[in-house]
C-alpha cells in the first residue's frame, strides 16, 4: 500500500459512499503537499465520516457531534508549531448542529481546513433531514421531499470571513481541489457533495448527484478573499494581579471598639460605590477590618445603588447584613431599596437626606442635606458626614484615600469642607 496516511485500503464505509473518496483524496492531497502523517491533526466528530479515525496514521481527535470545528479551533489556538496542519471532518448534520462554531472559526480565521461531507442527510442516525438537505430531497423524515432549502454553508462561512471556501462534487479525483484548501493560511472550508448510498440513493431513485447539486441553487465553485490568519491577541497584561492592588498602610487611629454594619444607599450616578470604597479604605488605613459589597439593578445606570459595609476591629467571617447598625440614605431610590430594613432597626443611626420622608424606625435619626454640593456628590458628602458624626474614621483618613487615588481634583472638596463646617 502506497499511502503513508492510511493503515488500510479498506475503509469502513458502505459501498459507493463518498466518504471513502474524500478520505482517500484527503490523504492523496497531503502526500502531494509533502506532509508526513504526524504533521497532520485530523479532528472528527460523530457521524459516518468520524469512523475514519482508526484508518488514519495521523494524530486523530474524535469529539462530540457537531463540535469538531470548535474543538479544532482550540487545538489551533494551542498549537505553537505552524507546520502542523489541522483538518476537520464534519458531516452536514454536524455542520447543522455546530453552525455557530463554523461561523466563529470563519470570523476569527482560525488556521485549519474544514471538510464538510454533505451527503444531504444524517446518515448514522437513520437518514434524517439536516440543515444542508436541499429542497425537494427525500429523506427518512421528509417523505414528500424536503420542504425547505438548505443552508448555503459556503456563503455563510464566506460572509463570516472565511478567506477560502469551495463547493465541489465528490466525484473522481478531487485531491487537487483539497490540496488548494489545505494550502490556505487561515480558515478554509470545502463542502463536498455526495449522496448517501444507504438512504439518499434509495429514497431518491434515478436522481444523479450533479442534477441534485444544480437543483439546490447553490453553485459549485471557489471563493476567496484576503485576510490575515488568526493571531493570538495578548492585549494589555499584568504579570501579577496582586502587584497592582494598592497596599493600604495603617496611619490613622479609630476609636471603634466593636463591629459596625453600615448600609449606604442612594441613586445610580450619585457616587455611592465610590463613597463606599472611600469608607472601606479609610477604615483599613485606620487599622480596621472591612468587608464591602455593592448592590444595584442590572441596568447599572438607573435606580438604586447600595453598598453594604462591615467594619470591625476583629477579622470578619460573615459579611451578610440583614438589619444594619447604621444606614446612610441619600435619595428616594436608596430609601425605597432599604425601607424594610430601616424599619427593622431597633437602635443604631439613620443618617438620611433631609428631603426624604423618615420611615418608622428604632434608630436615632439624623437628617441633613446631603445634596448640598450637588446630587452627583451626595454620597461623597455623606461619607464625610458619617466620619464627623460617628468618629469611626476621620476626615483626614478619607482625604488621604482621595489623594492617593488621584481624585483630589475630581471632587469638590472645598465645597464639601465649607458645607461640613455648617454641620452641627
Amino acid at each position: 500500500m502506497n499511502n503513508l496516511f492510511l493503515n488500510t485500503e479498506i475503509l469502513p464505509y458502505c459501498k459507493g459512499c463518498g466518504h471513502d473518496l474524500i478520505a482517500k483524496n484527503t490523504t492523496k492531497a497531503l502526500g502531494k503537499l509533502n506532509y508526513e502523517p504526524l504533521d497532520i491533526i485530523v479532528v472528527t466528530d460523530i457521524g459516518c465520516h468520524g469512523i475514519i479515525d482508526k484508518a488514519l496514521n495521523t494524530h486523530t481527535v474524535h469529539g462530540l457531534h457537531g463540535r469538531s470545528a470548535a474543538l479544532a479551533s482550540g487545538i489551533s489556538f494551542g498549537t505553537d508549531n505552524p507546520d502542523k496542519k489541522i483538518i476537520v471532518f464534519i458531516g452536514d448534520g454536524g455542520a447543522t448542529i455546530g453552525l455557530q462554531h463554523i461561523m466563529e472559526a470563519s470570523r476569527l480565521n482560525v488556521n485549519m481546513t474544514l471538510v464538510v461531507h454533505n451527503n444531504y442527510l444524517y446518515g448514522m442516525t437513520g437518514g434524517q433531514t439536516s440543515g444542508l438537505t436541499p429542497v425537494g430531497f427525500h429523506t427518512t423524515t421528509s417523505h414528500e421531499g424536503n420542504q425547505f432549502s438548505g443552508y448555503d454553508i459556503c456563503a455563510l462561512a464566506r460572509t463570516a470571513g472565511a478567506p477560502y471556501v469551495s463547493r465541489i462534487t465528490g466525484i473522481g479525483d478531487i485531491s487537487d481541489q483539497l490540496a488548494v484548501a489545505f494550502s490556505n493560511k487561515g480558515f478554509s472550508l470545502v463542502e463536498i457533495l455526495e449522496i448517501c448510498p444507504s438512504y439518499g440513493v434509495k429514497l431518491n431513485p434515478k436522481r444523479k448527484l450533479q442534477e441534485i447539486a444544480a437543483s439546490s441553487g447553490k453553485p459549485l465553485g471557489e471563493w476567496t478573499q484576503h485576510r490575515e490568519p488568526f493571531e493570538k491577541h495578548q492585549g494589555k497584561k499584568t504579570d501579577d494581579l496582586l502587584g497592582e492592588v494598592r497596599e493600604i498602610k495603617k496611619v490613622f487611629q479609630s476609636y471603634l471598639k466593636t463591629t459596625v454594619s453600615l448600609v449606604i444607599s442612594g441613586s445610580a450616578g450619585e457616587g455611592v460605590q465610590l463613597a463606599a470604597g472611600l469608607i472601606s479604605k479609610a477604615c483599613v488605613s485606620s487599622g480596621l477590618c472591612v468587608t464591602q459589597k455593592g448592590s444595584y439593578p442590572v441596568t447599572v445606570g438607573v435606580g438604586f445603588s447600595t453598598s453594604e459595609i462591615n467594619i470591625s476591629t476583629q477579622p470578619i467571617d460573615f459579611h451578610g447584613i440583614n438589619v444594619p447598625d447604621m444606614a446612610i440614605i441619600t435619595s428616594e431610590d436608596g430609601l425605597a431599596h432599604n425601607r424594610k430594613r430601616i424599619e427593622s432597626m431597633t437602635n443604631g443611626k439613620l443618617m438620611i437626606d433631609s428631603s426624604l420622608e423618615v420611615p418608622k424606625t428604632g434608630a436615632d435619626v439624623i437628617q441633613h442635606d446631603f445634596r448640598t454640593v450637588g446630587a452627583r456628590n451626595a454620597a461623597i458628602f455623606a461619607v464625610f458626614f458619617f466620619a464627623l458624626k460617628t468618629g469611626i474614621i476621620s476626615s483626614e483618613a478619607i482625604l488621604k484615600v482621595i489623594e492617593e487615588e488621584g481624585k483630589t481634583d475630581k471632587l469638590p472638596l472645598p465645597k464639601i469642607k465649607e458645607a461640613l463646617a455648617k454641620v452641627k
Binding site: L64, L71, F77, N81
Partner: protein, 374 residues
Amino acid sequence: MQENKKGRHALLDGSRLIIESMARAGADAFIGYPITPANLLYQYGLQRMPLMLAAPDEITTVQWMSGLAATGKIAVTATSFPGYALMIESINMAFMMELPMVIVLVQRLGPATGTATSGAQGDLSLLKGNISGGHPLPVLCTSNMEDCWTLSAKAVELAVKLRTPVVLLTSKEEVMTTKSFNMDLLPEITPLERKYYDLECDGNYKPYKATNFVPDFLPLGQNKHQIRFNASTHNEKGILQHADEESMANTRRLEEKIRKRAYEYTWYDLDEDEQAKKLVVAFGITAAAARHAVNQLREEGRHISLLIPKTLIPVPEVYLEIMESYDEVIVAEENINNQFSDLIYGLKKPVGHRFVGSLGKMITPQQIREEVRK
C-alpha cells in the same frame, strides 16, 4: 482573615485571588464569556492569563479549552449555572478524553436564570451526577479568601495530575465581595511542572495506557508518536470500540482514577472541641456564617465542633467518619433541600441530623446558633 496590624493590607475580592493563583500554578489560558456573577473572573483572566480568548458561547468555551488542553495548555473558565448547564456534554467529553482544565462555577440563585445577583448553594446535586455513568468529576469548594488562593492552585494541580476537568465551586458572595486582607498571609505557589511521556521512547506510546490509573500525556504538536484523543468509548490506543473488554476496562479506570487517587486531594478544616457532642458542618459561603456562629457559641460556654469540607466530590469518607462520631450534626447550606447531606447519606438521614437551609438569602450565624441551641 487577620486583624489589621502587621503585613501588606489591601482590599481584595476572591476573584482576583483565584485567577492570580491559577496563573501562578501554571494555567495558560482563560476562555471567557460574560455571565453574572463570574464577570470579575473574566476581567481578571483577560488581564492576567498568558492567553485569553472570548468565546461566543458556553459549548464553544469548553471545546476550545479541550483543544488547548490537547496541545498541553491548561485552560480556565468561569461560569454560573446557566452556562455550566450548557457545558456539561463538553465537560463529559473532556472527562472521557482525559483533558485537564478548571471550570470555576460561581453559584447563583436558580432555577434557570433565577436571580443573577443573588448567591446560592444549589448546584452540588447537579455536580454529583453530571458525568454520564455517575463517574465522579472532582469538585473543590472555597470557603474563604485563603481558599480562593490555595484551592485554586490545587485545582490546577489536580486537573493536570489526574488528567481531568475540575470544578472549583464558589458563589456570588465569595467572588464579588471586597474584603480587607493581609497579602502577606498568602503562601507561595509553586508553578506546576508538566511531565510528558518520554519522546525518546520506542513507538509504542498508547494514549490511554495508564500508570497508577493516569495515562502519560503527550501534547498534539510533537511528531514522534501518534496521539489519539477520543470522546467515544475507546481502547488504550484511543480507537473507538464498542463495549469490549479493553474499552470497558478503560472506562472503569476513569472511575477508579478519581476515586482511588482522591485521597491525595482531600482538603477540609476540622475545628474540634474534644468535649463536643454537636458538630456544625458547612461549606462554601455558609462556612463563614458557621465559623462566626461556632465562635459565638463557644463564648457562651458551649462545646461545639466545626467541619468545613473543601473537597466535595468525590466525597471523602472521612466526612462520614467525622459526622458519625457526634450525637448531633447540624448541616447548614444555602439551599432548601440539604444537598450536602444527600451526598453523604442519601434519602435517610441518621438520627441527630439537622439541616439549616435558606433560599435567596445567606444563612446567618444566628440561624445556625438557634439550631445548635435546640
